[in-house]
């Protein structure tokens, strides 16, 4: 099994979820993160003092899938998440050793 970990713009989450849903993928885990990279930060001003904010809000989506699905799913996500502007985010993939469904104790591909 492989974990696909994506860092996305918050505004694209809905699209990515839709696209994955159409592809038949429903299981995923989502969290709020802050990202820093090429994308320019912003300036905030509080009582006349400027602060440069370089950690920007992003959304992390983690999906564990069968190894043979990885390429397609990465494509689906990329397309749904792309705006073409700097800051669209990254997808990281890595193999995992096992998955267990707590409810049933099923393991491996059956568990996801």
């Amino acid at each position: 099994m492989t974990k696909i970990e994506c860092i996305l713009r918050p505004g694209r989450l809905e699209e990515v979820k839709d696209a994955l849903g159409k592809f038949g993928i429903h299981g995923m885990t989502v969290s709020q993160v802050l990202g820093c990279g090429l994308q320019k930060g912003r300036t905030e001003v509080y009582r006349g003092r400027e602060y440069s904010i370089n950690l920007l809000p992003k959304v992390k989506v983690e999906i564990v899938v069968r190894d043979d699905q990885v390429n397609e799913i990465v494509k689906v996500i990329s397309e749904a998440a792309r705006t073409g502007e700097i800051g669209d985010g990254k997808i990281f993939t890595y193999r995992i050793d096992n998955a267990i469904r707590i409810r049933t104790g099923e393991q491996g591909d059956d568990a996801i």
Partner: protein, 456 residues
């Protein structure tokens, strides 16, 4: 507000007393100020003032987290803007000596001649300045109400220009029509105790027009645009209700039985409307919601506003129940069907609720409550309903046309709507460079070098 002569009458009774006590004639001037009434209206003004920060929270909790500050800022800046405008020119346009039954003239520019002694035309027992500042609070909240319709997408400079023009060109004349001495709707006999037409219809209809002109928010209909902080919204609704006691009871302009009656029906109608909204929603969607209760009470407060000084408690229950149900339907059924994006339902609550209230006044008003008022349809005077209709229609027309024209004119000089990426990023950061809730270390002070000497 109704310009009642009771106080005058009371003063008349006092005349013989004063004649008996000749040396007391020096009294003739000052005693016309009643400390009880003055206290009542001054503190009512403070109560109406707090309604606008209340509105800021009511609205602020209903938008997404990234727009909370820009939404709050709308109301807050309007407090400041209209406070200055009113002192300089607004008050004289609205309440200054009549000019063609349409608007006040400029005699009271910069509050010239508006002083510490009463103006008996408006309120004989309180300093003229008290009446002026009480009215100011109405001007503030009205302009602020509109901002709910264009929340989450209007550019700040355009908002500033619009609000300043709107209060000057729409609100001030409308207030004159209904409440100014010799205003044409006042002369006609239209009843509007505390601002059903002037405040609620005008803001509600203007909100609808603004929502249509600005267009829908990105994601409207496809993404969930959910309230980010409902406790904040409830707190806002509570401050609105609290302040509304000053709004409606204060409109009696004296601490008397009429004020008491207005206070009671205000509370009753708000409560009934909240119950109605919650129950209708419960039947319709299976859950009684907190946002429904908060919205419902506001709908009831809106509807009772024009009627507050004319109706008894039992009709107030009815006015509230209908307001809750009808505004719910406007917001939950009518709006999605028509597809306009009045973000925080200014039209659904204030436009619809205000219209219902103005008409209900024509149904339930009774001179038993207020001899200076009139009877409504159910008390045998069908004509009043007709007069109310004229008032409603005139307010709709002025608000709709005025708002449309102002927005078009402003858009010639300044883009109305934030560009897509700024809307996406949120107006707090794009318009104000601030984050509502910065709860993590996110960056660094720019220009580190600036922290200098210091000492001790």
């Amino acid at each position: 507000m109704i310009w009642r002569s009771e106080r005058l009458k009371r003063l008349l009774y006092l005349v013989p007393l004063m004649v008996l006590a000749m040396p007391a004639c020096a009294l003739a001037d000052e005693p016309s100020i009643d400390t009880g009434d003055t206290t009542f209206i001054l503190l009512s003004a403070a109560l109406v003032w707090i309604m606008t920060p209340g509105l800021a929270l009511f609205y602020g909790g209903m938008v997404r987290r990234k727009n909370v500050l820009s939404t709050i800022m709308h109301s807050f800046i309007i407090i400041c803007l209209v406070s200055v405008q009113w002192v300089l020119i607004g008050y004289t346009l609205a309440f200054g000596p009549d000019h063609g039954h349409l608007v006040g003239d400029l005699s009271w520019l910069g509050l010239k001649d508006v002083g510490q002694t009463p103006n008996a035309d408006y309120a004989a027992t309180i300093p003229h300045l008290v009446f002026m500042v009480f009215q100011l609070m109405f001007a503030i909240i009205t302009a602020a109400l509109i901002t709910g319709s264009f929340a989450e997408r209007m550019r700040f400079p355009a908002f500033l220009a619009f609000s300043l023009l709107w209060t000057t060109i729409v609100y001030d004349p409308l207030a004159h029509w209904v409440w100014g001495v010799d205003g044409w709707l006042r002369n006609l006999g239209a009843l509007d105790f505390a601002g059903g037409t002037v405040v609620h219809i005008s803001s509600g209809v203007s909100g609808l027009v603004a929502a249509l002109v600005l267009g829908r928010r990105r994601g409207y209909g496809s993404e969930p645009l959910l309230p980010h902080n409902l406790p904040m919204t409830v707190l806002g609704a509570a401050l609105l209700w609290f302040g509304w006691f000053g709004f409606n009871a204060g409109s009696a302009l004296a601490a008397n039985g009429l004020a008491a009656s207005a206070f009671v029906v205000t509370n009753t109608a708000a409560a009934a409307a909240a119950l109605a909204w919650v129950i209708v929603e419960w039947m319709h969607h299976g859950k009684p919601t907190v946002l429904g209760a908060a919205s419902g009470c506001v709908a009831g407060l809106v509807a009772i506003t024009p009627a507050a000084g004319f109706v008894t408690p039992l009709p107030a229950v009815l006015i509230g129940l209908v307001a809750g149900a009808v505004c719910y339907l406007a917001v939950a059924v009518l709006k999605p069907r028509l597809g306009y994006d009045d973000a925080l339902d200014v039209f659904g609550v204030h436009g619809v609720g205000g219209t219902w209230g103005a008409l209900a006044t024509g149904l339930f008003a009774t001179t038993a409550v207020n001899p200076a008022g009139a009877d409504g349809l159910f008390y045998g005077n069908a004509g009043q309903l007709w007069i109310q209709l004229v008032g409603v229609a005139a307010s709709w027309a002025l608000a709709a046309v005025g708002t449309y024209v102002i927005l078009r004119v402003v858009s010639l000089f300044c883009k109305l709507r934030a560009p897509a990426d700024e809307e996406e990023q949120g107006l707090d950061i794009s318009q104000h460079g601030e984050d509502g809730y910065a709860d993590m270390v996110l960056g660094a002070p720019a220009g580190n070098g600036t922290v200098g000497l210091s000492g001790v």
